[in-house]
Assembly symmetry: D2
Homo-oligomer: 117 residues x 4
């Protein structure tokens, strides 16, 4: 099936195979690497106001750094999904369906402020 994310997951697996890095790529280690990259993403946004963060891609330097950190997050996320044998879109779609039941359209308590999950 044509699926860019699955194709990319195979590319990252090939990258890892070619360097014999499987022994380092346990779910535990990869989850830490994912968290580390998300931390770098936070660092790019931490001093910006929400409004400034909404315009960050308009700044070539800051926008490029944000895009690069997003790329790093994707790489470890697909690698982690690969070693776990998880289909990222399937598990996410299942969670979104749960949320649709939990937060019906038109029902908006004050405590709910944007939780997609």
């Amino acid at each position: 099936m044509d699926d860019r994310l699955s194709d990319f997951q195979r590319e990252v697996r090939a990258f890892t195979d070619a360097r014999d890095w499987h022994r380092f790529h346990t779910p535990k280690n990869l989850a830490m690497a994912l968290a580390g990259e998300v931390g770098e993403l936070l660092a790019e946004l931490q001093w910006l106001t929400p409004e400034e963060s909404a315009r960050v891609m308009g700044d070539p330097d800051a926008g490029g750094r944000v895009a690069a950190e997003m790329g790093d997050v994707v790489i470890y996320l697909v690698r982690l999904a690969d070693v776990l044998g998880i289909d990222l879109v399937d598990v996410a779609r299942a969670k979104l369906a749960d949320s649709a039941r939990r937060y019906p359209v038109g029902w908006q308590p004050a405590s709910v402020r944007g939780e997609v999950v």
Copy 2:
């Protein structure tokens, strides 16, 4: 183009539109939500040995929780990419190409232990 991740990104956008949550979905807020979900994923793996983490999907309970947390991570990641106007596969592929140059096959210094990026 047929792309399951892009299709899903549109589903999450529609979920958000239907609930009028755009005002909460700034890149800054979504990056925090992404980090929060990654923290929940870490919590599922923190007390496991690397070997136990490699078998976690074999446990229906723990495996189901890991899959659910992965789904939550994907939801906020695609939502963040959507508001930033970033193509997740494109930015990740660009970073993997950088890494392929930085870590040539066959070159393995002691300090390099599995960094895909």
Copy 3:
């Protein structure tokens, strides 16, 4: 020397000793637990505006949750420092001294926006 943080670190160590949890408290595992608790702290603040976050302790419910998450962060941080043999105040003071040199008072480039480190 009278030091409340060191006293508390000994209390957490005694808690761990009494339950024979040392085998789980490797630096790697404790760093993951610390990150998981910081993720829960982020979740309490993610949908708030910066201004709302500055008033969060004025809300008994939200403020109580923030205080509880801060407490969880401290517990794993002192536990991690204990197993590493690190004095938290000493290492932090050393980094603050570095920052004082790197960011002289009165020198404020546009790119510097609040980095204490």
Copy 4:
């Protein structure tokens, strides 16, 4: 009262005052900065086995980096506690007391593997 952590908290506040960085130091921004530093700490430990992580301070280079990251974590944590008006030791001690009730000594279900909180 003689308290090294409170003394250090005042030093970080003075550092911030001298640079007029209060406007950037909202709880939301500081929590992101804290998470970013915890991510850097994870990055130092992510490829180590739990056993290697237990010996990391014996390596002058890696140990120095871990100590530096711990220092950065402390700086943002005390800064965050300062703007929130939270006493870190008090909130942590309250959570440890909760945990002592929740996990009585001698009670050890298979599912409990080292959770101090």
